[in-house]
């Protein structure tokens, strides 16, 4: 046994020593594991204290330790601490192992003898493992200063602007003809009630004019290659049939276009638009888009009205989709959310009964630039409602649809109540499960609306029907609900119902995630690197998430994440290069038979196959170190640093005390 191993057992005050006989463990290691290379075994009150660390550094220097095992708390807490200590003493940090005898022994077991025995086994496993540890050097890769932001909603806009203002180039990709996202569709924003468009459009214009931003609307990402610092992204620019070089955005083509279709996107189906159209007046960029599938010329081969009237001959029926490739160092995914479709809850009557609106439809209804010019009226277009029912949690907090809370519906519904009250003076009923107002001056806004006399009924709406049971219900929408505060069933007749629909991941979130090599949770929201400590990074280095892609949230939180993502990227760009954990897989080409089993196993496309030599190879910078290919290689040709077969197999032997007398391992548990 050529290694010299130092073993350090931590009391952690009484956290460990209270259950585990720490002295015994360290003595045991010193004697029973001597012939495994343990030259020194100490126990200390707080190993993580500077004195504890110095103890280790001293032994490394004086005893020439070649390996270190610390038995203390979870590696997730102090692995770095002890590895850094080793590094200070000139020992490669990866030759140090931290085994957990606190979270996984003293804190979860009560029998002192058994706990001590287990601590010994766990320590023995660490010792056997560390023998096979290899000195590792972190990987460093250069960072390309340009960035890609996907999604032109407020999150993407914020991220793009922060990066661009920081002096770095940004590609902002948006699949709709204009940036702005959902926020551009809103009327007022809670709780301050300032006009959504008024605060958003300046930002949009900034983006449009920013010298550091290449704005790619009506475009989609089709392929992502490479790795952090060095991504190569293929983007498809869909044909607008409008030459943006020539177009002045005068809008004559729109005016002259003879055909109208329902606008399902911006107007949420509440109004019509022309076939060649600018989504909304403040759109950025302000060029029209021709909706080819609906265009008479593309259908029948005649018309071309737009072309005839265009003063700058900007209309180009021969325009084709264009594929471009950009190189970027980092990526922000801010592709937002879809609205829950209330048709999925038939008993609420949406789509079946008149005068039932989704939250988004209502936003348009009360928006000054909307179909009714901001007049809140029934479908007939003239009659204002006398009573309005607002239903919360539609498709949220509901095991049949989405279990989670969509976070914004309460405040949004309260906002709606205020707007209806303000503009119609109608009677308003809000139907809620719980009111959630976790935000600056949210609760105050709720109080204000309560004071305005809005009725709040605590109970989940069972049904919205038009089947009247009494004369006063005739011609009304009747909301059937159990009022849980008074504990009885109620039927409330109203003229208008607003369904505060929940937020859902984009219908294509999974595919998009695959494209960028990041994962969705069971709910479909993208998984952050850490739910608390790192909510904007992902498991894929260099790919960040901002806004509702990570989970439902309101505008302030969304903006904060957009800014945060930008700040993180800026930091990386300044460093110029990035350091990667050296836990990576690699293929021994002599042993690789080119069977190609591994080729499709890597979600990060780190494995490439060389037809010519008929072998596979792993791109270390792309590899995330999960080890799946190592476990799958039938030839045993792939090895993984940090978690090699030798390390794991040795740890198994250690844990089972194969390295010492067998009876021992059984007796201690009996």
């Amino acid at each position: 046994m050529s290694e010299k191993i130092g073993v350090y057992v931590c009391h952690c005050g009484t956290n460990i020593a209270g259950i585990v006989n720490v002295e015994e463990v360290s003595q045991w290691a010193g004697s029973r594991l001597k012939d495994r290379g343990v030259v020194i075994a100490r126990d200390y009150k707080f190993m993580c204290s500077s004195l504890g660390q110095e103890l280790i550094e001293k032994d490394i220097k004086e005893l020439g330790l070649t390996r270190v095992v610390v038995a203390a708390c979870s590696p997730h807490l102090h692995e770095r601490t002890f590895r850094t200590a080793c590094e200070r003493a000139g020992l490669n940090p990866y030759l140090c192992e931290l085994v957990s005898i606190r979270e996984q022994v003293s804190w979860v077991h009560t029998d002192k003898i058994a706990a001590t025995a287990k601590a010994e086994a766990v320590l023995s496993g660490g010792v056997e493992r560390v023998i096979h540890n290899e000195p590792l050097e972190p990987l460093k890769v250069p960072i390309h200063p340009d960035s890609l932001v996907v999604g032109g909603g407020i999150a993407g806009i914020q991220a793009a602007l922060e990066l661009a203002d920081g002096g770095n180039h940004v590609y902002l990709v948006e699949r709709e003809p204009s940036i702005g996202g959902h926020m551009a569709q809103f009327d007022k924003t809670f709780p301050t009630l300032d006009c959504s468009a008024c605060i958003l459009t300046p930002r949009m214009v900034q983006v449009g004019n920013h010298p550091n931003i290449t704005l790619l609307t009506w475009s989609e990402v089709t392929k992502v290659d490479g790795y952090v610092g060095n991504f190569e992204v293929a983007i498809k620019k869909k044909a607008r049939y409008v030459n943006t070089e020539l177009c002045t955005g005068c809008g004559i083509c729109v005016e002259k276009c003879p055909k109208k279709v329902v606008d399902d996107v911006f107007e949420a189906g509440m109004a019509k638009r022309k076939v060649i159209y600018i989504p909304f007046p403040q759109a950025v960029p302000n060029f029209p888009v021709l909706d080819a599938p609906n265009c008479t010329f593309f259908q029948k081969g005649t018309c071309k009205a737009c072309e005839k009237f265009c003063p700058t001959n900007a209309i180009d029926f021969n325009q084709k989709d264009e594929d471009i490739t950009v190189k970027v160092g980092n990526i922000v995914l801010a592709t937002g959310y879809d609205l829950f479709n209330p048709r999925r809850i038939p008993q609420y009557g949406y789509g079946r009964l008149e005068n039932i609106f989704t939250s988004l439809e209502f936003e348009r209804l009360c928006n000054a630039s909307g179909p009714t010019g901001g007049n809140i009226v029934l479908k007939d277009g003239i009659t204002p409602p006398k009573t309005v029912g607002i239903v919360h949690c539609v498709g949220s907090r509901d095991q049949n649809y989405n279990g989670y809370c969509s976070a914004i519906c309460c405040m949004q519904s309260i906002k709606f109540a205020h707007l209806v009250h303000e503009r119609t003076g109608a009677d308003i009923y809000n139907f809620y499960i719980d009111i959630r107002t976790p935000g600056k001056s949210y609760e105050e806004f709720y109080q204000r609306v309560l004071d305005e006399g809005t009725h709040f009924v605590r109970g989940k709406v069972a049904e919205v029907t038009e089947v009247a049971r009494s004369p006063e219900e005739e011609g009304k929408l009747i909301i059937q609900v159990e009022d849980t505060l008074i504990g009885k069933q109620r039927r409330i007749p109203v003229d208008m119902v607003i369904l505060s629909a929940g937020l859902e991941p984009r219908y294509d979130a999974k595919e998009t995630g695959k494209l960028f090599g990041i994962a969705c949770s069971a709910d479909g929201w993208y998984i952050e690197r850490h739910p608390k400590l790192d909510p904007i990074a992902t498991m894929t280095e260099g790919v960040f998430i901002a806004g509702c892609v990570q989970g439902p949230k309101d505008i302030p939180a969304t903006v904060a994440q957009g800014a945060a993502a930008a700040a993180r990227i800026q930091g990386k760009i300044q460093q110029g290069e990035i350091t990667l954990e050296p836990i990576r897989a690699s293929i021994n080409e002599d042993q690789c038979s080119g069977c190609r089993i591994c080729n499709d196993l890597c979600p990060f496309s780190a494995i490439l196959y060389h037809e010519d030599r008929a072998v596979s190879e792993i791109n270390a910078a792309l590899c995330q170190g999960c080890g799946t290919c190592v476990a799958a290689c039938p030839a045993g040709a792939i090895s993984g640093t940090g978690f090699s077969n030798e390390q794991i197999l040795a740890q198994i032997e250690g844990l089972l005390l194969l390295n010492i007398d067998q009876k021992e391992s059984k007796k201690v548990l009996a």
Partner: protein, 330 residues
């Protein structure tokens, strides 16, 4: 002692089929080189020489012993120890000695189960339900039989082994190459590889030598060779046939897949592999094209005998070696 000074050569079979011996004869005229460079002192299939002659030899007096066959009886173990003692270089020759080969599939059943099956077959007339005994009293005296172990073992589980030469049987061109090497060593023109080396084989896997075209693997269904007309150009696994080539050591020139028949794994695990079957099952399972447990199991139903598939040759050499019953009855 021998009359001439040529180094001594021995070949022995334990629990084996004789195919290894035939493979050696199949080196054709090379056999004459063996005769020219060695004194063949013990080789039951080809010449007369009894144990006593071997026992009479001084220790380490045989230069090279090719030992084929697995260890399944007291007799095998005895000869293994004898030849280890008498040989300078002991080679585990062929799949049986290296990893147990098919005879070790018997490790999947208990000894009782095994004897009961054999002595009650449809054509057996055995009214007193007789089982052979290790010692039987006959009118003239007592005669004995070696005892069968309940678990077949590899040679290196019984005695230390210097080299391993896999294959069922080893391909003749590989044998010829190894014999050339040894002769060169004798003439001081070459050096022996380090002890424990696998000789007469490659260190990649059969796919490396397989002429079939390979693509990425996604398995939706396992098929059986008799039910399809496989495309002769394309990887059999990609056509749903459970081919063991991907996990099996190279060196055979991918004979079976080239002949339209899936590799069955006779060359054993690739360099440094601890458990052959684990490699094979891990690789194949990893590329099953489903994330639904129910569907995964439906797909796995396409392999009705997984243990037989992945441990066809490697049972004795595997980590578990034998089924629980075989272990538990001594």
């Amino acid at each position: 002692m021998s009359k001439n000074e040529k180094p001594k050569f021995a070949m022995y079979w334990a629990d084996s089929c004789g195919g290894c011996d035939i493979a050696v004869l199949n080196i054709h005229e090379k056999i004459l080189d063996v005769d020219a460079n060695f004194e063949v002192v013990f080789w039951p299939v080809a010449m007369d020489a009894k144990y006593k002659d071997v026992e009479a030899m001084p220790d380490k007096s045989i230069l090279l012993t090719l030992f084929n066959g697995a260890i399944h009886s007291t007799e095998h173990e005895h000869v293994a120890h004898l030849l280890r003692k008498k040989s300078k270089i002991l080679v585990a020759f062929g799949s049986c000695a290296c990893e147990g080969c098919m005879p070790a599939l018997i490790n999947l059943s208990s000894k009782k189960d095994f004897f009961d099956t054999v002595f009650t077959t449809i054509s057996t007339v055995n009214p007193e339900n007789i089982r052979p005994q290790t010692s039987v009293k006959v009118p003239e005296g007592v005669i004995t039989l070696p005892e069968m172990y309940s678990v077949v073992r590899t040679l290196d589980q019984v005695v230390p082994v210097d080299y391993y030469m896999p294959g069922c049987p080893p391909e003749s061109h590989q044998i010829a190459a190894v014999i050339d090497l040894v002769i060169q060593v004798l003439q001081g023109k070459a050096e022996l590889p380090p002890p424990g080396t696998v000789i007469g084989a490659g260190n990649s896997t059969v796919c490396d030598e397989c002429p079939r075209k390979r693509d990425i693997k996604k398995i939706k269904k396992f098929d059986r060779i008799q039910f399809i007309e496989p495309d002769p150009e394309i990887c059999l696994l990609e056509q749903g046939i459970f081919c063991s080539g991907l996990a099996t050591r190279s060196g055979c020139e991918a004979k079976c897949p080239s002949a339209g028949s899936p590799c069955i794994g006779c060359y054993g695990p690739a360099e440094g592999v601890l458990d052959y079957g684990a490699r094979l099952m891990s690789a194949v399972a990893s590329v099953i094209d489903s994330t639904d447990p129910v569907e995964i199991n439906q797909i796995l139903d396409g392999i009705p005998d997984p243990a037989g598939q992945i441990y066809r040759f490697n049972m004795a050499g595997s980590l578990l070696q034998a089924c629980k019953d075989a272990w538990n009855r001594k």
